[in-house]
């Protein structure tokens, strides 16, 4: 998406006329946007390239339905988000989260965060990211997406609304529900750690 000179309307016109070169240019142009969404919400055991391909194929088959009411990248974002959520829903059961599932470093980071005895260091960032993703895996797909966008990508409610198509009240409700579930999870982990 770094190429600001890209003629998106012209490219879309050519794609609608079944121009394969234009379709390739469009994929190249949108790939960074799509792959960032896929990586943020990638379900377990799903290859990111396969999911990206599904998203692009959906985009092409629905292109006639695009009315131009929202910017085209937002429209593609919504397809990407709903495709990822559908994949997460298809996985159905979320494995129970246990202290034993954490690596030694992840457990140490979590311990530091929970007990507040020692400051976490930037060197713990990778473990923290893995840990956060394991915790987010425990949430419902819609709730997980909201927390991911709010707390990790630091997007505003309005930006999330534009990206997902959900209204702002719904996003706040989902964020509240997700944080309550995470709080419960933290308490359970603290209790297990003490026992």
């Amino acid at each position: 998406m770094a190429d600001d000179s890209f003629d998106l309307p012209g490219c879309l016109d050519r794609v609608r006329r079944r121009d394969q070169v234009a379709a390739r240019e469009l994929v190249d142009h949108l790939y960074p946007l799509v792959i960032r969404i896929v990586r943020s919400h990638l379900p377990r055991r799903v290859a990111e390239e396969d999911l990206a391909q599904d998203i692009f194929l959906k985009m092409f088959t629905r292109l006639e339905q695009y009315q131009g009411n929202v910017p085209f990248p937002h429209w593609v974002s919504r397809i990407a988000v709903t495709t990822c959520i559908d994949q997460l829903r298809a996985q159905k059961r979320r494995p129970e989260f246990r202290w034993a599932d954490l690596s030694e470093n992840e457990a140490e980071v979590l311990d530091n965060v929970l007990t507040d005895e020692r400051d976490v260091t930037p060197g713990d960032a990778l473990e923290a990211r893995e840990l956060v993703h394991k915790l987010l895996d425990q949430l419902k797909p819609d709730d997980r997406l909201v927390i991911q966008l709010l707390d990790l990508e630091q997007k505003t409610i309005a930006e999330i609304s534009a990206q997902t198509g959900w209204n702002q009240t719904l996003i706040k409700v989902r964020a509240f529900r997700a944080r309550r579930k995470l709080q419960k999870l933290f308490q359970e982990l603290q209790n297990k750690e003490k026992s």
């Binding site: 930037p122 956060v132 707390d151």
Partner: protein, 97 residues
């Protein structure tokens, strides 16, 4: 800010520092492969959006049908012949009996 909020913000702030060093450019051949498939795909039908709700809709309709039969079971189970046999409407109107 309660204790959980403090802990969660601390953890996510640390997780954000990890960033994501992976390349975001399309892998070689990806765009060509997808574009080749895209031009052969038929456009989605306008009804495609409803397809994902079709099964759920069918189940709800079936449940409504069963509920309607259950609620009105007495009407279905009564024998209409008896009603006709015991009611002489014309006779009642003309007061013949």
């Amino acid at each position: 800010m309660n204790q959980f909020d403090h802990q969660w913000q601390k953890l996510t702030a640390l997780a954000r520092q990890a960033g994501d060093p992976r390349d975001v450019a399309a892998p070689y051949g990806f765009a060509t492969r997808v574009a080749a498939r895209a031009v052969t795909l038929p456009p989605a039908s306008p009804w495609a959006a409803f397809e994902r709700f079709a099964l759920r809709g069918l189940l709800v309709a079936a449940a409504c049908g069963v509920a309607a039969i259950a609620v009105n079971y007495t009407i279905f189970s009564s024998e209409p012949a008896d009603d006709y046999a015991t009611t002489d409407t014309v006779g009642e109107i003309l007061n013949l009996s």
